[in-house]
């Protein structure tokens, strides 16, 4: 941590080795285009690097802070005008991708466990997690999208995460 604060080379290498795959997993779930996803991962690390001073351990885990940076950058990219235009014709494909949530597990043997994980979640829990976590919806937007009350959204999100906690424990 200290090494990171001092911007040491070894620190950023360690940081990358520890977290790049988790962050890239999230980013590539949001952005299908691998070239763009790679760009976003790079931007994420640059931003982490430059704004590291604003992170404090008291506010939470390092990964939470980092993954939120990655998600925000990825969602910004997804919503940015040029990217939207670029992907207009790919919209269907993206939807298909989102429907096939296990797409990555099919190709990545190391992620075989995800199938079990996803199966532990109920369909509505998966749905809300998908919208908020991977599509960048706020819970308010998700409530609109799904046509359900805000409180229900919050409860479902909480249940989904509770389910994950149970699974990992």
């Amino acid at each position: 941590m200290l090494a990171l604060r001092r911007h040491e080379k070894i620190a950023v290498e360690a940081l990358y080795d520890m977290y790049s795959s988790s962050l890239y997993g999230v980013i590539s779930r949001i952005i299908v285009d691998t070239a763009v996803a790679e760009d976003v991962l790079q931007e994420t690390f640059v931003k982490i690097w430059h704004s590291f001073a604003s992170y404090s351990t008291e506010k939470g885990r390092l990964f939470t802070w980092m993954v939120n940076i990655a998600r925000n950058l990825a969602i910004d990219k997804l919503r940015s005008k040029d990217f939207k235009n670029q992907n207009k014709n790919q919209e269907l494909e993206i939807n298909v991708t989102f429907i096939d949530e296990q797409r990555n597990t099919v190709y990545k043997p190391e992620l075989l466990g995800i199938k079990d994980l996803v199966q532990t979640l109920k369909a509505d829990q998966k749905e809300i997690l998908e919208l908020v976590y991977f599509k960048g919806y706020t819970h308010v937007e998700a409530a609109d999208e799904l046509g359900i009350p805000l409180g229900t959204i919050k409860t479902r999100l909480r249940m989904a995460i509770q389910q994950l906690r149970k699974h990992f424990n």
């Binding site: 790049s20 988790s22 997993g25 999230v26 690097w49 819970h139 994950l164």
Partner: protein, 275 residues
């Protein structure tokens, strides 16, 4: 405790972890977490779950991306390290001494060259001026010589015309007892009233400085002065025109004091001749 439990179950902590809270909600959650260890523990659990969830969804990025990302960060090392450390950069010596201008030498030599040229010019000017003076002097001399020649030529023409002119009579004046060998030729033209004496063949002794020869015309019985002349070895003129007289029976020459006399000194008569 009930409040805390309700707070936990409200779902706000999950939204907080997902970053889906307003800044005031965020501050509130952080405050609650710092006050209530249960909330802090709950947050930690949620975060850990999401981290594990992400790890479970992890996708290994392409290997070459590692170098790309690290390089893009490392290229910024210099900037990032310099930014917080406020060691003042040693001020670069931007002022570079200009090479000593070599034009000075050039001007010195140019000045010397100009000065030398000036002196040479003055010398040349003097030489040319002297030559010009010489040339002018020579030109004047030549001119005077030329004039002399032209006047001589004119005079000779004049003298020649005397010989050609048939109206002139040449009278031989022969020496008297004073000068037995004396001889003088006088050309006389009554029509033109001119009397010219021949100096070249004048056979008379040279006169001294106190005396001059005087030519007389005898008109009737009266001698008339026709002017004085010198017998001078240096004088190489051929003829001399004397005062005019219309008629004369005889011509005579006497030796008189310089300037001539009104009446001839008869005992000093040198030559005489009748028409």
């Amino acid at each position: 405790m009930e409040d805390i439990k309700a707070y936990i179950e409200s779902g706000i902590l999950e939204l907080y972890v997902l970053g889906d809270v307003t800044s005031s909600e965020k501050l509130h959650v952080e405050e609650m977490a710092s006050q209530h260890p249960a909330i802090k523990a709950e947050l930690d659990e949620i975060e850990r779950s999401m981290e594990l969830f992400a790890a479970a969804n992890a996708v290994e990025p392409p290997a070459q991306l590692r170098d790309r990302v690290l390089n893009s960060l490392l290229t910024n090392f210099g900037d990032d390290n310099n930014f917080p450390t406020k060691h003042p950069q040693p001020v670069k010596e931007n002022v570079i001494a200009m090479p000593a201008p070599k034009a000075n030498g050039f001007y010195k030599y140019a000045f010397a060259a100009c000065f030398a040229l000036l002196i040479a010019s003055v010398v040349a000017l003097f030489s040319v001026y002297n030559k010009l003076q010489n040339a002018n002097t020579q030109l004047i001399a030549l001119n005077s010589t030329n004039q002399k020649f032209s006047s001589t030529v004119n005079f000779m023409d004049h003298q020649l015309s005397v010989y050609r002119d048939t109206s002139f009579k040449v009278i031989k004046l022969k020496g008297t007892a004073h000068l037995p060998n004396g001889l003088m030729l006088v050309a006389f033209s009554p029509a033109k009233k001119k009397v010219i004496i021949d100096m070249a063949d004048l056979k008379m002794p040279a006169n001294d400085k106190e005396h001059q020869y005087q030519l007389w015309a005898i008109v009737g019985k009266t001698p008339v002065s026709l002017g004085v002349f010198d017998k001078d070895a240096a004088d190489n003129s051929l003829m001399k025109e004397m005062k005019s007289v219309p008629v004369a029976q005889a011509f005579a020459v006497t030796l008189e004091p310089r300037g001539g006399s009104i009446n001839p000194t008869m005992d000093q008569m040198m030559v005489i001749g009748n028409l």
